[in-house]
Symmetry: C2
Subunit: 217 residues, 2 copies
């Protein structure tokens, strides 16, 4: 069995924790690739990723058999397989909604383009911002959002807007047919089931820290 025998689409639902670890493994594999390293064992990947070798093997086994017994995994082959599994084999069009400071920080983030994410436009409702640029990306009027989406078919919307308008904008994004959202507004959003929404909530992360500080002994 090799990497080409992995099922066309996974049969079971994959745990979010599994996908997160695949991302981590891929990052290490790319580091190893850069150094010309040929093979790697599940144990090495585990130690770098803060998990166990059994976990690494279980994670990969969901998608196929990628290793050689007694040897480990081919670094370039496993990296290629993981990129394919994670959907990184193609370009993804991204729109940023909200041309504030966080939007600007994201727009200039190099890791984006390196991984095939192309920011096609930014949107705002503030007339003073519309027509300007955000780190070289045109800021468009939110009013033209629906017609732009119909024409350009972006894959992912990044929401860097205030909390109070987040649900309303998410509904617009959903109606426009975009199926994936990365949300930076500190709001609990309700989306249709066929949509993928990831929320990055700094307030919540900070409260995780203060809880830990408060309850440590």
């Amino acid at each position: 069995m090799n990497q080409f025998t992995s099922p066309a689409q996974p049969l079971k639902r994959i745990a979010e924790s599994t996908v997160r670890r695949l991302s981590i493994y891929l990052r290490f594999l790319e580091e190893f690739e850069g150094r010309g390293r040929a093979t790697v064992s599940s144990d090495e990947l585990a130690r770098r990723g803060g998990t166990t070798s059994a976990q690494v093997r279980k994670d990969l086994s969901v998608f196929g058999s990628f290793g050689k017994r007694g040897l480990g995994y081919s670094v370039p082959e496993l990296a290629t397989s993981l990129r394919e599994i994670l959907g990184l084999g193609r370009e993804w069009k991204v729109v940023i909604i909200g041309a504030g400071k966080i939007g600007a920080a994201l727009a200039q983030y190099h890791g984006f383009r390196e991984r095939g994410f192309v920011i096609v436009a930014a949107y705002d409702t503030n007339p003073e911002k519309i027509g300007g640029t955000l780190e070289g990306i045109a800021i468009r009027d939110m009013q033209s959002f629906e017609s732009d989406v119909t024409r350009e078919n972006p894959d992912i919307a990044v929401l860097t807007i205030p909390m109070h308008s987040a649900q309303e904008v998410l509904d617009r994004v959903a109606r426009a047919g975009i199926k994936a959202v990365l949300n930076f507004a500190p709001a609990q959003l309700h989306a249709p089931m066929d949509m993928a929404v990831k929320t990055v909530n700094m307030a919540m992360e900070l409260e995780g820290l203060t809880f830990a500080l408060t309850n440590a002994h």
Copy 2:
């Protein structure tokens, strides 16, 4: 039993997912507080937070009994209890390490000060940035980090630095005695067990989205 009978410190280890949900409940309670609402049921909190009423009650039960049977929870009392549990009853001193775009976005984020987080300083190694300000906060030389920490005793360090230096800086933060870190570098960090580290990794979140887009049918 009321909120004052909660154990001085939780006996079992609390699941991270529980703490995250407490944050969510608190956000809704504050919304209700603003509207002068007196009581709320576990079922209402559950629907807003995308969970179940049993989950809400289990989450709270770890810390004590806060509700009245047949009535629900007092909004202000439960909010106060949750703030206390999450460690939001006091001021926390924060330092930002890395005076780039993400650092700037965080420095101007209002949600910080509103919740008792005070940014006392920013640090960088770039001579052109040192001595300047980041959204009104002084940018200091990273060389003075250790002596500053000894003098000012900040509680939390926010890392907005490139991936390659992240582990090295985390080690310095750990040695300086800071026990909580919010990390924005896309790196898997290894920290001492008595430290709380939360990593916000955008690349990983995006890959979660492209995985979902790729494996949807």
